[in-house]
């Protein structure tokens, strides 16, 4: 084993073990705050692992959505839970659980163990030297309208999946809203440093979002990453105490939210009417259609994520 292989082997072992440990700690932590921080650390390490196996697209999504936005969402949820953190005293007390709770816990544990065993068997049963679908994607890349294989798969070959993902995201926001949203956070006095930071970073975030969107057609990037950065800009604005004017939170907000899914559905209908199968773009127009879809999807994803963070009902909304 030469020196570089050894170093990489050590690196992989540390990353793999670290991921398992962080996941275990995050789940086992009795304090929710600590659990969230460990989850964010897990996400950061996960994105390093993705970079290591040459999957920068997934790494970008993981770091923007997993570590960044999910972390912010969890912390925002925690701050609205109030003082439900266990104290030192309550943590030392032995927990008494009812018979039902214990049965439920053991059932959940055995179900999860069964799934884990099944997954291990499935992974072991996979052919080790499989080529995957990479060659097939590369062969039909010319017809996809873009030169990045990941974008080609996400928005052309498997556009159906991405359409459903967008709808899931919208559904999540509708779920939050249908609960009546959450009461407004008490407006804290403006912090000069945070305000200044937001003023400097917002243009940078908008630029990065636009760059990721543009890069998506030929390099790592794309609608989800760009949308996540856009959503982060909304989160930062909301944290710094900025609010959206009332008149933009009605129709404008809703149009932004449904722009991506509805354009997707329109293209799906168009392809069916034009006599092709669902979302099978004509090759000569595929490039333009994908770019249009990505722009609309970015706007919708960014708005939805920021609205999820703000989590107030639609009538009284700040943020994005």
């Amino acid at each position: 084993m030469d020196r570089l292989t050894l170093v990489l082997w050590i690196f992989d072992s540390v990353t793999g073990l670290g991921l398992l440990l962080l996941a275990g700690w995050a789940l086992a932590s009795p304090q929710l705050f600590r659990g969230i921080i460990l989850f964010v650390a897990f996400s950061l390490m996960m994105s390093i692992a993705w970079v290591r196996i040459d999957a920068p697209d997934v790494a970008l999504a993981e770091i923007a959505i997993g570590a960044g936005l999910t972390g912010a969402l969890l912390l925002a949820a925690l701050s609205r839970l109030g003082d439900s953190e266990p104290t030192q005293e309550s943590m030392n007390r032995p927990i008494e659980r009812s018979y039902r709770a214990r049965t439920f816990r053991s059932l959940t544990a055995s179900l999860l163990a069964a799934v884990a065993v099944a997954l291990v068997f499935l992974i072991l049963a996979l052919p080790g030297d499989s080529e995957g679908l990479g060659a097939e994607v590369a062969a039909s890349l010319d017809a996809s309208g873009v030169s990045s294989p990941v974008t080609a798969v996400l928005l052309n070959f498997r556009g159906y999946d991405t359409l459903l993902e967008l709808l899931v995201l919208l559904l999540a926001l509708l779920g939050v809203w249908s609960l009546g949203g959450l009461p407004a956070q008490p407006v804290s006095p403006a912090v000069l440093v945070l305000d200044t930071l937001a003023r400097i970073l917002i243009p940078v975030l908008l630029l990065s979002s636009a760059y990721l969107l543009w890069a998506g057609t030929h390099a790592p990037g794309g609608a989800f990453q760009a949308g996540a950065v856009l959503g982060a800009a909304g989160v930062l604005l909301s944290l710094a105490g900025w609010q959206v004017r009332q008149r933009y939170t009605g129709v404008t907000l809703r149009l932004l939210l449904i722009a991506g899914p509805s354009l997707f559905l329109a293209f799906a209908l168009y392809t069916i009417v034009a006599g092709q199968s669902l979302l099978e773009y004509p090759p000569q127009r595929a490039g333009v259609m994908i770019v249009l879809l990505e722009v609309a999807a970015t706007l919708s994803i960014g708005t939805t994520l920021a609205a999820l963070f703000v989590a107030e009902g639609p009538r009284n909304k700040e943020g994005q």
């Binding site: 912090v191 440093v193 945070l194 200044t196 930071l197 400097i200 970073l201 940078v204």
Partner: protein, 99 residues
Amino acid sequence: MILSDYVAAVLLLVGVFFFLAGTVGLVRFPDVYTRLHALTKSDNVGLGFVVMGLAVEAESWFVVGKLLLIWMLVLLAGASVAHLIARGATQRGVRMWTD
């Protein structure tokens, strides 16, 4: 190895030393303010040395510019977030450590 490789290696090692010192401080220091003090040093100076080390080995000036941009963004975010954490701690009445 040529001269620039050695220069890069030394700069990277100095950067790693700052990160190590910052981590030791984070683990060993007694309260949130002193820990922030240790952490921001490693973020600001440590990353600065790592960026310089990588810049020496960079293929083009374009890459050097990108690296500097990353460093500046981390400086900005690190300093601001450290301030916000310390501010939050003060407002919640976290006392400063006194011997």
